[in-house]
């Protein structure tokens, strides 16, 4: 390890200060609230109550996993084909992927209500050909749709980046050595894109598990995930201690999930970078 020079230290200082104030300090506060009661005395009461929410945790992780999987299945082929088109087309497509993110996440989610509702766009179109109205809103499917819709760009972008940077010579070499199209994808493209997959999964899975806005608007209160429970503890129940304890457990669970993910992606010890834990 080389010792960093003074200049480097100065350059790093703003971020270290930022991290201390807005990452480390809040984490310590979460820990403090989780392990105390409303009077501020040490207590494990909040931690003990967490058992009641086991089902909610499992439900959240399942929803997150399903939404992440769907995003991956949609994004992977898209990113692959996009990386092999003309540069101009690529630039435009990437911009189109990012375009929705220029608008507020809240408004985009809210507008799905009018699309999926019983007198919404889809159902009135279906009604004209004599189908429906179908119950598209206020169920688990609508929540998953909301998650996939909102977080899909975070899956596409890292996948696209890694595929666009992929060394074409490796693919050509595989072809020269007699690989078929599918074999190239399976043996060359896929292994090389693993870091992209890992960072995509991280960036989609984490916000999906902890979301509360999507479930409230598109789930109509039918789907209650851990984000909703935590939000309620802070906003309505005024029980910061339980809210903090739940957040802590959620963080630990996400960390475990990402640890498992890392385990898989680390299998080729040389491949590094990409995973954000």
């Amino acid at each position: 390890m080389k010792r960093s020079s003074l200049a480097q230290k100065i350059i790093n200082a703003p971020y270290i200060l930022w991290a201390a104030l807005f990452v480390i300090a809040p984490l310590i506060m979460v820990l403090y609230y989780a392990l105390t009661d409303s009077t501020g005395a040490f207590s494990l009461d909040s931690v003990k109550q967490i058992g009641d929410y086991g089902g909610t945790f499992i439900l959240s992780i399942s929803y997150g996993a399903v939404a992440t999987l769907i995003s991956l299945v949609i994004a992977y082929p898209f990113a692959y084909f996009l990386a092999h088109t003309k540069a101009n087309f690529q630039r435009m497509s990437v911009m189109l992927v990012m375009l929705p993110m220029w608008m507020s996440f809240l408004i985009r989610t809210y507008s799905w209500i009018t699309i999926l509702g019983e007198s919404g766009v889809i159902n009135s179109a279906l009604g004209k050909i004599g189908i429906g109205p179908l119950p598209l809103l206020n169920n688990g499917g609508a929540v998953i749709l909301g998650m996939v819709y909102n977080f899909l760009p975070y899956m596409i972008l890292p996948l696209y980046t890694i595929m666009a940077k992929m060394d074409v010579r490796l693919i050509e070499a595989a072809q020269d050595l007699g690989c078929g199209k599918l074999q190239v994808i399976r043996k060359v493209v896929f292994p090389l894109s693993v870091p992209g997959i890992a960072s995509g999964i991280t960036m989609v899975f984490v916000p999906c598990v902890s979301t509360f806005y999507i479930t409230q608007k598109l789930g109509g209160g039918q789907v209650n995930l851990i984000g909703d429970v935590i939000e309620a503890q802070f906003q309505t129940a005024n029980n910061y201690n339980l809210g903090a304890a739940l957040s802590l457990v959620l963080m630990v669970m996400i960390l475990i999930c990402l640890g498992v993910l890392n385990y898989f992606t680390d299998s080729d010890d040389e491949v590094n970078g990409g995973v954000l834990v």
Partner: protein, 427 residues
């Protein structure tokens, strides 16, 4: 060439925006000039003479709970007093309480509801009003009809010492006449399986529990755990039977879309929905006061003890009681006002509405909310989480744990593979 065209287009756009902006400004100015003074000379003089010039006032109110169209109350107050108003909004009493009790903020005016005011008084978070600075109270407040709300005593003081009622209201059952032909008379219609998926409930524990409590004939402020358990069971039964959608302000869009048959909300909002529909030439909503009883509530203007400008706050309360201001607010919010000058005003469009001003026999079993112990509050919110919690979890558990098992198996297999590979390369 392309670049030049782009730049030109951008320029045109910018100029267009500026031009329309300027045009709007001009029309606004002329409108303002043409506007007649709505307040009397005495009123103008009174507020100008309060010496509030250069002070600031932090007002913390419910969303959509003050007129900002007809006369724009806040800017009128600023104009009359020269005091600068920072106006922020909250979406629930609990939300407001968390912010206020968390410290670090300072408000001069808050407008919470009944039970929350009691709690704030108990915890010493409000300051007493100086009625000498609020002369409009005696002139315009309808003490005959609404005085009973403020008679309760807490810590040896009445609520009147700390707050002045802004609006009053009740909860109400709203239904779609296209699908429900007969006026319902009971909350139990919300438990009717034939309306599965067509029911909107409060996404707020206290109001939802009140409906179940009314059906069970309980006191809304019960301190008995068994009562809360029974009410929670009833709500759970409703969730399983009719799968209600839990909403707050989204109810406006959802009820007006005609997709839902039944909803519960606050009485004034029913009139608001109805008038929204009228603008579109539709009329399919009606209301009922179920016989088991509704919740009557009031919101009152109070001054928290973090105030930095008590005199300004009292002037603001006084200003809110001015007949012109109160009328504009009442017409904007659609809730029942406690201001005599408005009720007696012939221009007031809601005076005849029985939804907003229900005769006593219609809301015979109505109950009020009071502050309940914090243990029970916490218990209620735990129960509420259970009511809204997971359903059909049996299958889910199986799927979840088989997934975990699969992951573990894959981990073991890859670990073994790795080991074998290592061995292979080592040799």
């Amino acid at each position: 060439m392309k670049k030049i065209i782009c730049i030109l287009l951008a320029l045109v756009l910018v100029i267009a925006v500026f031009a329309t902006g300027c045009a709007e400004n001009e029309t606004e100015e002329t409108e303002e000039e043409a506007e007649e003074e709505i307040f009397s000379a005495e009123t103008l003089e009174y507020y100008a003479g309060l010496g509030l010039e250069g002070t600031t006032l932090n007002v913390y109110n419910w969303g959509e709970y003050i007129d900002d169209e007809e006369i724009d109350v806040i800017s009128q107050f600023e104009r009359l007093t020269g005091c600068e108003v920072n106006y922020t909004t909250f979406e629930s009493n609990e939300n407001m309480y968390s912010k206020l009790s968390g410290g670090g903020v300072s408000y001069d005016i808050i407008i919470p509801s009944d039970y929350m005011i009691e709690r704030l008084i108990k915890e010493g978070m409000l300051v007493e009003l100086d009625y000498d600075n609020i002369p409009n109270y005696d002139k315009y407040f309808d003490k005959e009809d609404y005085g009973y709300f403020v008679d309760d005593e807490i810590n040896g003081h009445t609520i009147e010492d700390y707050g002045i009622i802004y609006n009053v209201g009740t909860t109400i059952l709203i239904y779609n006449t296209d699908y429900i032909k007969e006026k319902p008379d009971s909350w139990s219609i919300l438990w009717d399986e034939q309306y599965k998926g067509k029911v909107l409930m409060f996404n707020n524990p206290r109001d939802s529990f009140a409906i179940a409590q009314a059906m069970l004939g309980q006191d809304f402020n019960s301190e008995s755990i068994e009562d809360w358990d029974a009410a929670a069971n009833l709500l759970l039964e409703q969730r399983q039977k009719v799968k209600p959608t839990y909403v707050m302000d989204e109810i406006f869009n959802l009820m007006e879309s005609g997709d839902y048959y039944l909803g519960v909300y606050y009485a004034g909002d029913f009139e608001l929905m109805k008038s929204d529909l009228e603008e579109k030439g539709k009329d399919f909503l009606d209301y009922a006061f179920p016989k088991e009883g509704v919740n009557t509530f009031y919101d009152a203007m109070c001054i928290p003890n973090s105030t930095q400008n008590k005199k300004g706050a009292e002037a603001f309360i006084n200003f809110m009681l001015e007949p012109e201001v109160a009328l504009a607010n009442a017409e904007y919010i659609y809730y029942a006002t406690a201001n005599k000058a408005v009720i007696e005003n012939e221009d007031y469009s809601l005076a005849e509405s029985e939804a907003v001003y229900p005769p006593e026999e219609l809301i015979a079993n109505a109950q009020q909310f009071h502050d309940i112990s914090s243990e029970n509050l916490q218990y209620m919110s735990t129960l509420w989480m259970k009511v809204k919690g997971t359903s059909g979890s049996g299958v889910l558990y199986i799927v979840f744990f088989s997934c975990i098992a699969a992951v573990v198996v894959v981990i073991i297999i890859t670990a073994l593979k790795k080991k074998r590979m290592k061995k292979y390369y080592n040799i």
